[in-house]
């Protein structure tokens, strides 16, 4: 029987479509989680009260913030889940090597990020409609420009993809050794407590400032892409050494 030779991208493409089909149920949980977030957002994601003269004002702010937040957690969990054994084993039933398996995973996570971000941002609109119908109140909006919508979706995709890369990396560590299940939270919270007791500024704040307070779009994109690349590369190099179906 003659041998077939194959190139990497051909395999990655096939695996990507296979994964879209195999992991489609993740999108069911996405919808569930976004609907849950909408429910929680219903009282407004923020509110401010003010008084002046003989009137008092109560402002309720509505935005998709919570939906995006929940989507981030969903993305994190999804990324961890696909690093687990059963999911890696599915790949090895068919044609794969460890690199193509990871690359197709990353493509799948990117797709999940795009779908999650677009639905999250659009869910903000659904929230406005629901608030309008159910609260029977006038809704004021500051910005609905198309340009902002596009930018919002783009930045959200970066955020979600960023989180998936962290999830994928942490999931990979856990697959390498179950010790990390304990080690990572202990390290994370340990440092937080330590810094709190030393009256130091927690590193989380610095991390948040580094990404979340970056107000130049270009710099933000660079920061996120570099970080994502680092996490995924680290995960791939760990996974490349990992045996399957032992």
């Amino acid at each position: 029987m003659s041998l077939t030779s194959v190139n990497l991208w051909e395999t990655v493409k096939k695996q990507y479509f296979f994964k879209l089909k195999a992991n489609i149920d993740a999108f069911s949980s996405l919808i569930g989680i976004q609907l849950l977030a909408l429910l929680f957002s219903f009282g407004g994601v923020g509110s401010v009260g003010m008084g002046g003269g003989n009137f008092s004002i109560n402002i309720k702010y509505y935005s998709a913030d919570l939906v995006i937040g929940f989507t981030l957690i969903w993305a994190f969990v999804t990324a961890i889940v696909i690093t687990t054994k059963p999911y890696r084993n599915h790949d090895f039933t068919f044609v794969t090597n460890r690199l193509s398996s990871s690359l197709s995973n990353i493509l799948y996570l990117l797709t999940a990020s795009i779908v999650g971000s677009i639905t999250a941002i659009l869910a903000g609109n659904l929230l406005k409609i629901l608030a309008h119908i159910l609260l029977d109140d006038q809704i004021y909006s500051f910005n609905t420009g198309l340009q902002e919508l596009v930018m919002g979706i783009g930045v959200t995709i970066l955020y979600v993809f960023f989180v998936t890369s962290i999830g994928y990396f942490i999931g990979t560590l856990v697959q390498e050794s179950k010790l990390f299940i304990i080690l990572i939270p202990v390290l994370f919270f340990g440092i937080l407590f330590l810094e709190a007791s030393m009256q130091k500024e927690p590193f989380l704040i610095n991390v948040f400032k580094f990404y979340g307070m970056e107000s130049t779009l270009f710099l933000f994109i660079i920061k996120v892409i570099v970080t994502v690349a680092v996490f995924f590369t680290a995960a791939i190099s760990i996974l490349n050494r990992m045996e399957v179906r032992r």
């Binding site: 029987m1 003659s2 041998l3 077939t4 030779s5 194959v6 190139n7 990497l8 395999t11 096939k14 479509f17 296979f18 089909k21 195999a22 992991n23 489609i24 149920d25 059963p86 084993n89 599915h90 090895f92 039933t93 068919f94 044609v95 794969t96 090597n97 460890r98 690199l99 193509s100 490349n240 050494r241 045996e243 399957v244 179906r245 032992r246």
Partner: protein, 300 residues
């Protein structure tokens, strides 16, 4: 052409050598039976060949490539066992399509034919199948993918006798139509010996021997007669297996390197010369004690 070549292949788990300097090679388009007791490293060896796990030391070449992380090995080989895992979200019917996308030689007709013959429901899911059905389904994938190297690791787990017979028949027919290299590891050597061309016997992570099935059938003989005479004849030879019947009758299995006159002489003094079933022989060869399970009871 050599499809698989192993030199000093060693695999260590927790400082225990599961495979210990194993060297062998497998020729193209042969059906080889991989025989050995439980836990001698058959599955480990097959998983190294499939590229699932890494060798600790030594060399393994499949299609002249190291199988670990090789796409070419992956696309040209398939590893079938009862642990084969499929996404729970994809129904069985679609799994056939997915497998067809991955494997270039996939035979849709054959897959569909076997699928229907074993009355699978295309809408059912792999994780809802019974043990025997799981093995049957995996076997279908293994056969229809027509990989130049097809590895079946205990493929008949849980199958009932009828399905096992069907499977062996299907395997043989498809092999004749599309010859390929097949490795079959099974406990039931008696069932598969008609299929096999070669046998690779592994003991304690080492190659015990590798020979063709016809050689194996004549490799040993059984001597049955009075204890005295049997011991006399087998003097200086390694007794692979012995069993006592009554007070003074003994059965012993020894390597068949007797000359013709010697055999005639044995016949004259009343020692029966019996052929040894190759499956029995494999059991004798791989067992730790010479008396088999009887020893455990005799000592008490």
């Amino acid at each position: 052409m050599r499809v698989i070549e192993c030199t000093d292949l060693t695999k260590t788990y927790l400082r225990k050598n599961v495979l210990d300097k194993l060297s062998f090679s497998i020729e193209e388009n042969k059906i080889t039976g991989l025989i050995g007791r439980n836990g001698v490293g058959k599955t480990t060896l097959l998983k190294i060949i499939a590229g699932f796990i890494k060798e600790t030391s030594g060399q393994v070449k499949v299609f002249s490539e190291r199988p670990y992380n090789s796409l070419n090995v992956s696309i040209n080989s398939i590893f079938v066992d009862d642990q084969m895992s499929f996404p729970p979200a994809i129904p069985l019917g679609e799994i056939l399509t997915v497998a067809g996308n991955f494997y270039p030689n996939w035979d849709r007709e054959l897959a569909k034919g076997l699928f229907d013959y074993f009355s699978f429901d295309p809408k059912s899911y792999h994780n809802r199948l019974s043990k025997g059905k799981t093995s049957t389904f995996n076997m279908i994938i293994g056969l229809a993918s027509r990989c130049p190297l097809t590895i079946f690791d205990e493929p008949t787990t849980g199958m009932d006798a009828a399905v096992r017979k069907d499977f062996y028949r299907a395997l043989l027919k498809d092999y004749i139509a599309y010859p390929r290299t097949i490795i079959l590891s099974s406990h039931h050597l008696d069932e598969i010996e008609d299929l096999l061309e070669d046998v690779l016997l592994i003991k304690d992570g080492k190659k015990h021997f590798q020979m063709s099935i016809s050689e194996l059938k004549e490799w040993a003989i059984g001597l049955k007669g009075t204890t005295e005479e049997v011991l006399n004849f087998s003097d200086g030879k390694e007794i692979l297996f012995k069993e006592y019947f009554g007070l003074n009758t003994m059965y012993a299995v020894v390597k068949n390197d007797f000359s013709e006159p010697l055999l005639n002489k044995a016949h004259l003094v009343g020692v029966e010369i019996l052929p040894v079933q190759s499956s029995d022989l494999c059991v004798y060869l791989t067992s730790e004690t010479k008396g088999g399970i009887d020893d455990v009871f005799n000592k008490r």
